[in-house]
């Protein structure tokens, strides 16, 4: 089975460890249970999200997008084992490079979902790295260049998402 686990990072939903499976270095992403929420709800969310992540990674690989390979899924331990890749994290990379930007990958076929994901990414950029609007503009350019078919529909929808619901200002 797995050998010793070294904690790499803890996020809001999961702990990420480095470990080994049959001598191969892997990352174990363990979604921990949230004591604040009802156990039924906790189980539903944890399981659903882990399955979705595994499926998404596989779909990326099938479509030639370079992502870590899924090695094992342990439903009982809510843990996803994926290939360990040596290198910088995206955050380290952003802090070290202000001149160029890479882009994230999308799974859902709906323009709506893609636009919401881009919107979340945009807010994450701006809130973590103030004045990174230029960097995000590069993300959008790269997005446009890579996904010519769907990009215009998604970017148009992104405009809507930015203005959605209560996000309008007092003049609206």
């Amino acid at each position: 089975m797995t050998s010793e686990q070294v904690l790499l990072r803890q996020g809001a939903e999961a702990r990420v460890y480095k470990t080994e499976i049959s001598g191969r270095p892997v990352v174990a992403k363990q979604r921990f249970s949230k004591t604040y929420r009802h156990p039924d709800l906790d189980r539903k969310l944890t399981r659903g999200r882990m399955n979705q992540e595994a499926r998404s990674l596989k779909r990326c690989l099938d479509n030639g997008i370079l992502v870590p390979q899924v090695v094992r899924v342990d439903k009982d331990a809510s843990t996803l084992f994926i290939e360990y890749i040596e290198g910088q994290t995206l955050k380290e990379w952003i802090l070290g490079n202000d001149d160029e930007a890479k882009e994230s990958d999308q799974i859902s076929a709906m323009a709506e979902d893609k636009a919401v994901d881009l919107y979340v990414l945009e807010r994450a950029f701006i809130s973590t790295h103030p004045n990174s609007e230029k960097l995000f503009a590069l993300v959008l350019e790269a997005y446009k260049a890579e996904n010519t078919d769907v990009a215009s529909a998604v970017l148009k929808r992104l405009e809507d998402v930015r203005q959605r619901g209560r996000k309008r200002d007092m003049t609206g």
Partner: protein, 360 residues
């Protein structure tokens, strides 16, 4: 070493009147800010805060009904003069002691906002005291900070009209996540109407009491979209099952499940904001912030992160006058006033549109 020849600034005191009426509560508050060493030019303003008065009168429609703007405005008009008198009596000050008159500029319901702004404007001209227009959400945040002493918390602002996750950065209260449709308090209020729960003391309070007696968890839609949440679909869903299969679920279990589900959504996006900015403090403000179950869930989450939850009681988390005085007095200390020509109100006024000059 020779003593600094820089003379020490004189103490400065600001007394502010605050008028709040953006929804069904009319609040009048008077606060005194004391700057022992004068108002600093380039540091964050942290005056000693003395509460002089904080009185309130709530308009409650009959069970099963919501409040209409025109009825709320009529309520505010009818009780504002006696409420003002009560506040001055309690505070043991007169209008001559006031430095500024603060009123809610928005966001909120148009007619009630207008009725209170008109009183503020009249008093300002009558007594020759400057006006300060205040953002309602910023009022909640500043009062919560003053009462709890939370330093740099992620703020969850939850009420009948608003649902936002907020963090401070560069003189702005930045909105990290918010509702895409109705506010959480609005969802709770409207479900209380379906169950015909009384509006007194508040529909949300009565839902909370029912929820305490519930035990069966009914699965409801869980709608977190990125950092945002949506409640209207949950309301439609639970209204439907409450009406079409009343024999299957008790009102207690419905209230319990509704709270558990929606509060989990709020805790999730709050935790994400905390992880993002690296803060371990969370401050809950707004009327729904009184809910003990929400405070408990937020506390569990914060504890697991080695942090802490800050919350206030009904005097401050439910809309009140002193929070408007609190935020207004801080802005006034930085020289901000609202000329009569600009003393209008607005139903839409985003938290991040305020330049928070009193912080660094």
């Amino acid at each position: 070493m020779p003593e600094s020849n820089k003379t020490k600034a004189l103490p400065k005191t600001i007394i502010a009147l605050g008028l709040e009426g953006s929804a069904n509560k009319l609040g009048v508050g008077i606060v005194k800010h004391i700057y022992v060493d004068g108002i600093p030019d380039d540091a964050e303003l942290v005056p000693e805060v003395v509460e002089l008065a904080n009185v309130r009168d709530t308009y409650n429609p009959p069970a099963g009904e919501g409040f209409l703007p025109r009825d709320v405005a009529a309520h505010h008009r009818s009780v504002i003069v006696p409420l003002l008198k009560k506040a001055f009596e309690e505070a043991k000050v007169t209008h001559k002691d006031l430095d500024c008159i603060c009123y809610t500029k928005g966001p909120g319901m148009g007619a009630p906002l207008q009725s209170v702004a008109l009183v503020a404007r009249t008093l300002s001209q009558l007594w020759q005291i400057p006006l300060v227009g205040v953002n309602h959400c910023v009022g909640h945040i500043e009062m919560g900070r003053a009462i709890t002493g939370a330093q740099n918390p992620v703020v969850l602002y939850v009420s009948g009209g608003n649902t936002q996750v907020i963090a401070y950065s560069q003189q702005t209260y930045r909105i990290f996540g918010e509702t895409l449709d109705i506010a959480i308090g609005n969802c709770l209020d409207r479900f209380a109407r379906v169950l015909k729960l009384p509006n007194d003391p508040s529909p949300g309070y009565n839902i909370e009491q029912y929820a305490k007696r519930g035990s069966k968890f009914i699965e409801l839609p869980y709608t977190v979209k990125g950092m945002d949440v949506s409640f209207s679909g949950i309301l439609s869903f639970i209204e439907k099952i409450a009406k079409t299969e009343p024999e299957k679920h008790t009102p207690e279990d419905l209230c319990y499940s509704l709270q558990e589900n929606m509060f989990a959504m709020l805790v999730e996006i709050t935790e994400r904001a905390m992880a993002h900015i690296g803060s371990n403090e969370v401050l809950v403000v707004g009327g729904v912030g009184c809910n003990v179950r929400l405070q408990e869930m937020m506390g569990q989450m914060a504890e697991e992160r080695g942090g802490k939850v800050f919350a206030t009681d009904m005097r401050y988390c439910i809309d009140n006058g002193i929070m408007i005085a609190q935020a207004g007095a801080l802005a006034f200390a930085r020289g901000f006033t609202t000329p009569i020509d600009d003393s209008w109100i607005t139903q839409r006024f985003r938290t991040d549109q305020v330049h928070v000059e009193w912080r660094t």
